[in-house]
Amino acid sequence: MKNFFRVLILSIFFIGFQFNTHAAEKVEYLKTDWSFKGLFGKFDRGSLQRGYQVYTEVCSSCHSMKYLSYRNLAEKGGPEFTELQAKAIAASFEVTDGPNADGDMFTRPGKLSDKFVMPYENVKAAQAANGGAYPPDMSVLVKARGGGVDYIYSLLQGYEDPPVGVTLDDGVYYNKYMYGNKIKMANQLSDDLVEYADGTRATVEQMSKDVTTFLMWAAEPHLESRHRMGFKAIVYLIILTVLVYFSMKRIWSRIETKV
């Protein structure tokens, strides 16, 4: 038994490397309470809905979310708009469809089954419109950045005047959380930029938190069921382990050797 705990300690030590390698490059990110962290972590519905609003009104003019569909907005564990609301949201977008019987492409209002409409036709068009920098697709952005949600949350609030001695080219901005501090996206958020339907005051901090929560859900749409299932699975395993432990003791009691 004592040895077994040594196994566990060794395992943790081994895995600890990975944390170290990530920690090495990290600057201190801004901290906030994320409702989706922890064993029972869940998304804050209100925050997800507000985050969607920030995404649509601010980010979506440059950033695509190609893996999301409008139906996702009404699914359990997400922003949980009602189906009617989600349909209305979808219908507010023009979707290119076709070709029709005459061989022509046409536009129509969006449906639940449509993917989020892309801001640009293709990557080249996106680069041309943004000074050569491609605004990354935001579907899995949170998982594609080392610092995850804390990084995105900080970056949105990390715009500053460049320190003395740092010169910036045209269309390049200074951000203290960006890798190398130079970013091609201008500061997008300012207080009361959007008007939240639920009356929450739209401070930069609030909008950053809401949109980051929304991005976390976009990257991990099944996070809530994962946490729920994880808790049940681990409780089940612990109970079974205890039962098996006592059976083992009973069986080995026939032998003088201890287990």
Partner: protein, 420 residues
């Protein structure tokens, strides 16, 4: 296989068994005499079997939904994560399962090193094990390429480029491996095919590994030969089955924690960015379980010699039964070897750490010293130690582990003959 003849009780059973002796095999597996003093380090064989089966089953389901095409692979993985029922669960089990597999295999290998399980008459078990380990690394590497993220692409580029170090034919071999002039769709499809094939090769080798084990029987923490069956052994079922089961459940709790609560911590964030041949990531790092060998590769300034050093680091293990000249198996009775063993463990951990760091300055120096020590351990320390070391007296049987030394020898021998 079994020492004693087995006859099924029922008539049908006897009829069947005479034609295909599956029941004899089942009887052999349940009755298989196992040393009763095996500790929990010995449960990792069963845990590894579980890992292999888990990887194969989850892998089969993933292959039903995955599309091996450079333009669609990344999308299809996201499709699995979002729209396939419990696809996220299956993929996270598979991805973290690879790490768990390696965690278990490293513990299994280091257990062998500590208790001298590779020594005669178990050399073949050991060598098959090393081949399994090599195949595991190949399977894991190719599996990591399949999601077609940035680390997939650039990892594949770095590793396949190693072959270009071979004189004269190197470049040709790399082109042949890629199926083109860079890592691209043909590379992806062949990696997928091989990633599907290798686990079944491993499964076959696992059968041989266990077969070879069942000829001499298990080594044990005391490391002495024991009589089988005797007072020193217990039948595999139920004693070892329940103990392995208990350890497996403990292991599964750790496994579940990773899958459900930190499923991406062992991966690299860059692999959630779709592969882009025009953008090279700042640091290209392999998965954690390959880091020690990556450190060895980078610590040699010459490319060809680096590759040779990395391969030798693994293949040297196959020669271990002959490099270790000591007659005593278990480190329990080898006071000096025990110390060198722990230094080796630390050395490999250090190599893993510097493997994750940029190859420059102090890190590079540490990597070089650690690499040199790694080879020193196997090529110099082990062979010399066998001749120089004063080992402690070993007991005559497991039931009398305290006995030893000349005065007790006669008594012990007498007792042993009484026991049997």
């Amino acid at each position: 296989m079994s020492d004693h003849e087995y006859t099924p009780k029922s008539k049908v059973g006897k009829w069947f068994n005479d034609r295909l002796p599956l029941l004899t095999l089942a009887n052999h597996l349940t009755e298989y005499p196992t040393p009763k003093n095996l500790n929990y380090w010995w449960t990792f064989g069963g845990i590894l079997t579980f890992c292999l089966i888990t990887q194969i089953v989850t892998g089969l389901v993933l292959a039903m939904h995955y599309i091996a095409h450079a333009d669609m692979a990344f999308d299809s993985v996201e499709h699995i994560m979002r729209d396939v029922n419990y696809g996220w669960l299956i993929r996270y089990i598979h991805a973290n399962g690879a790490s768990m597999f390696f965690l278990a295999v490293y513990i299994h290998i280091f257990r062998s090193l500590f208790y001298g399980s590779y020594k005669a008459p178990r050399e073949i078990i050991w060598i098959i094990g090393i081949i399994i380990y090599l195949l595991m690394m190949a399977a894991a590497f190719m599996g990591y390429v399949l999601p077609w993220g940035q680390m997939s692409f650039w990892g594949a580029t770095v590793i396949t480029n190693l072959f270009s170090a071979i004189p004269l034919v190197g470049e040709g071999i790399v082109t042949w491996l890629w199926g083109g002039y860079s890592v691209d769709n043909p590379t992806l499809t062949r990696f997928f095919t091989l990633h599907y094939l290798i686990p079944f090769l491993i499964l076959g080798l696992v059968v041989l590994h266990i077969w070879a084990l069942h000829v001499p029987g298990n080594n044990n923490p005391v490391g002495i030969d024991i009589k089988k069956p005797s007072k020193d052994t217990v039948p595999f079922h139920p004693y070892i089955v329940i103990k392995d089961g208990f350890a497996l459940l403990m292991f599964m709790i750790v496994f579940a924690f990773f899958v459900f609560y930190t499923p991406n911590i062992l991966g690299h964030a860059d692999n959630y960015i779709e592969a882009d041949p025009l953008v090279t990531p700042a640091h290209i790092v392999p998965e954690w379980y390959l880091l020690p060998f990556y450190a060895i590769l980078r610590s040699v300034p010459d490319k060809l010699l680096g590759v040779v050093a990395m391969l030798s680091a693994i293949l040297i293990l196959a020669a271990l039964p002959w490099l270790d000249t000591s007659k005593i198996r278990s480190a329990v009775f080898r006071p000096l070897y025990k110390q060198f063993y722990w230094i080796l463990v630390a050395d490999v951990l250090i190599l893993g750490y510097v493997g994750a760091m940029p190859a420059e300055g102090l890190y590079l120096l540490i990597a070089r010293i650690a690499t040199a020590y790694y080879f020193l351990h196997f090529l110099v320390i082990l062979p010399v130690l066998g001749f120089k070391e004063k080992t402690l007296p070993t007991p005559l049987s497991i039931t009398e582990p305290i006995l030893g030394g000349s005065t007790n020898l006669a008594v012990a021998k007498n007792k042993e003959s009484l026991n049997n």
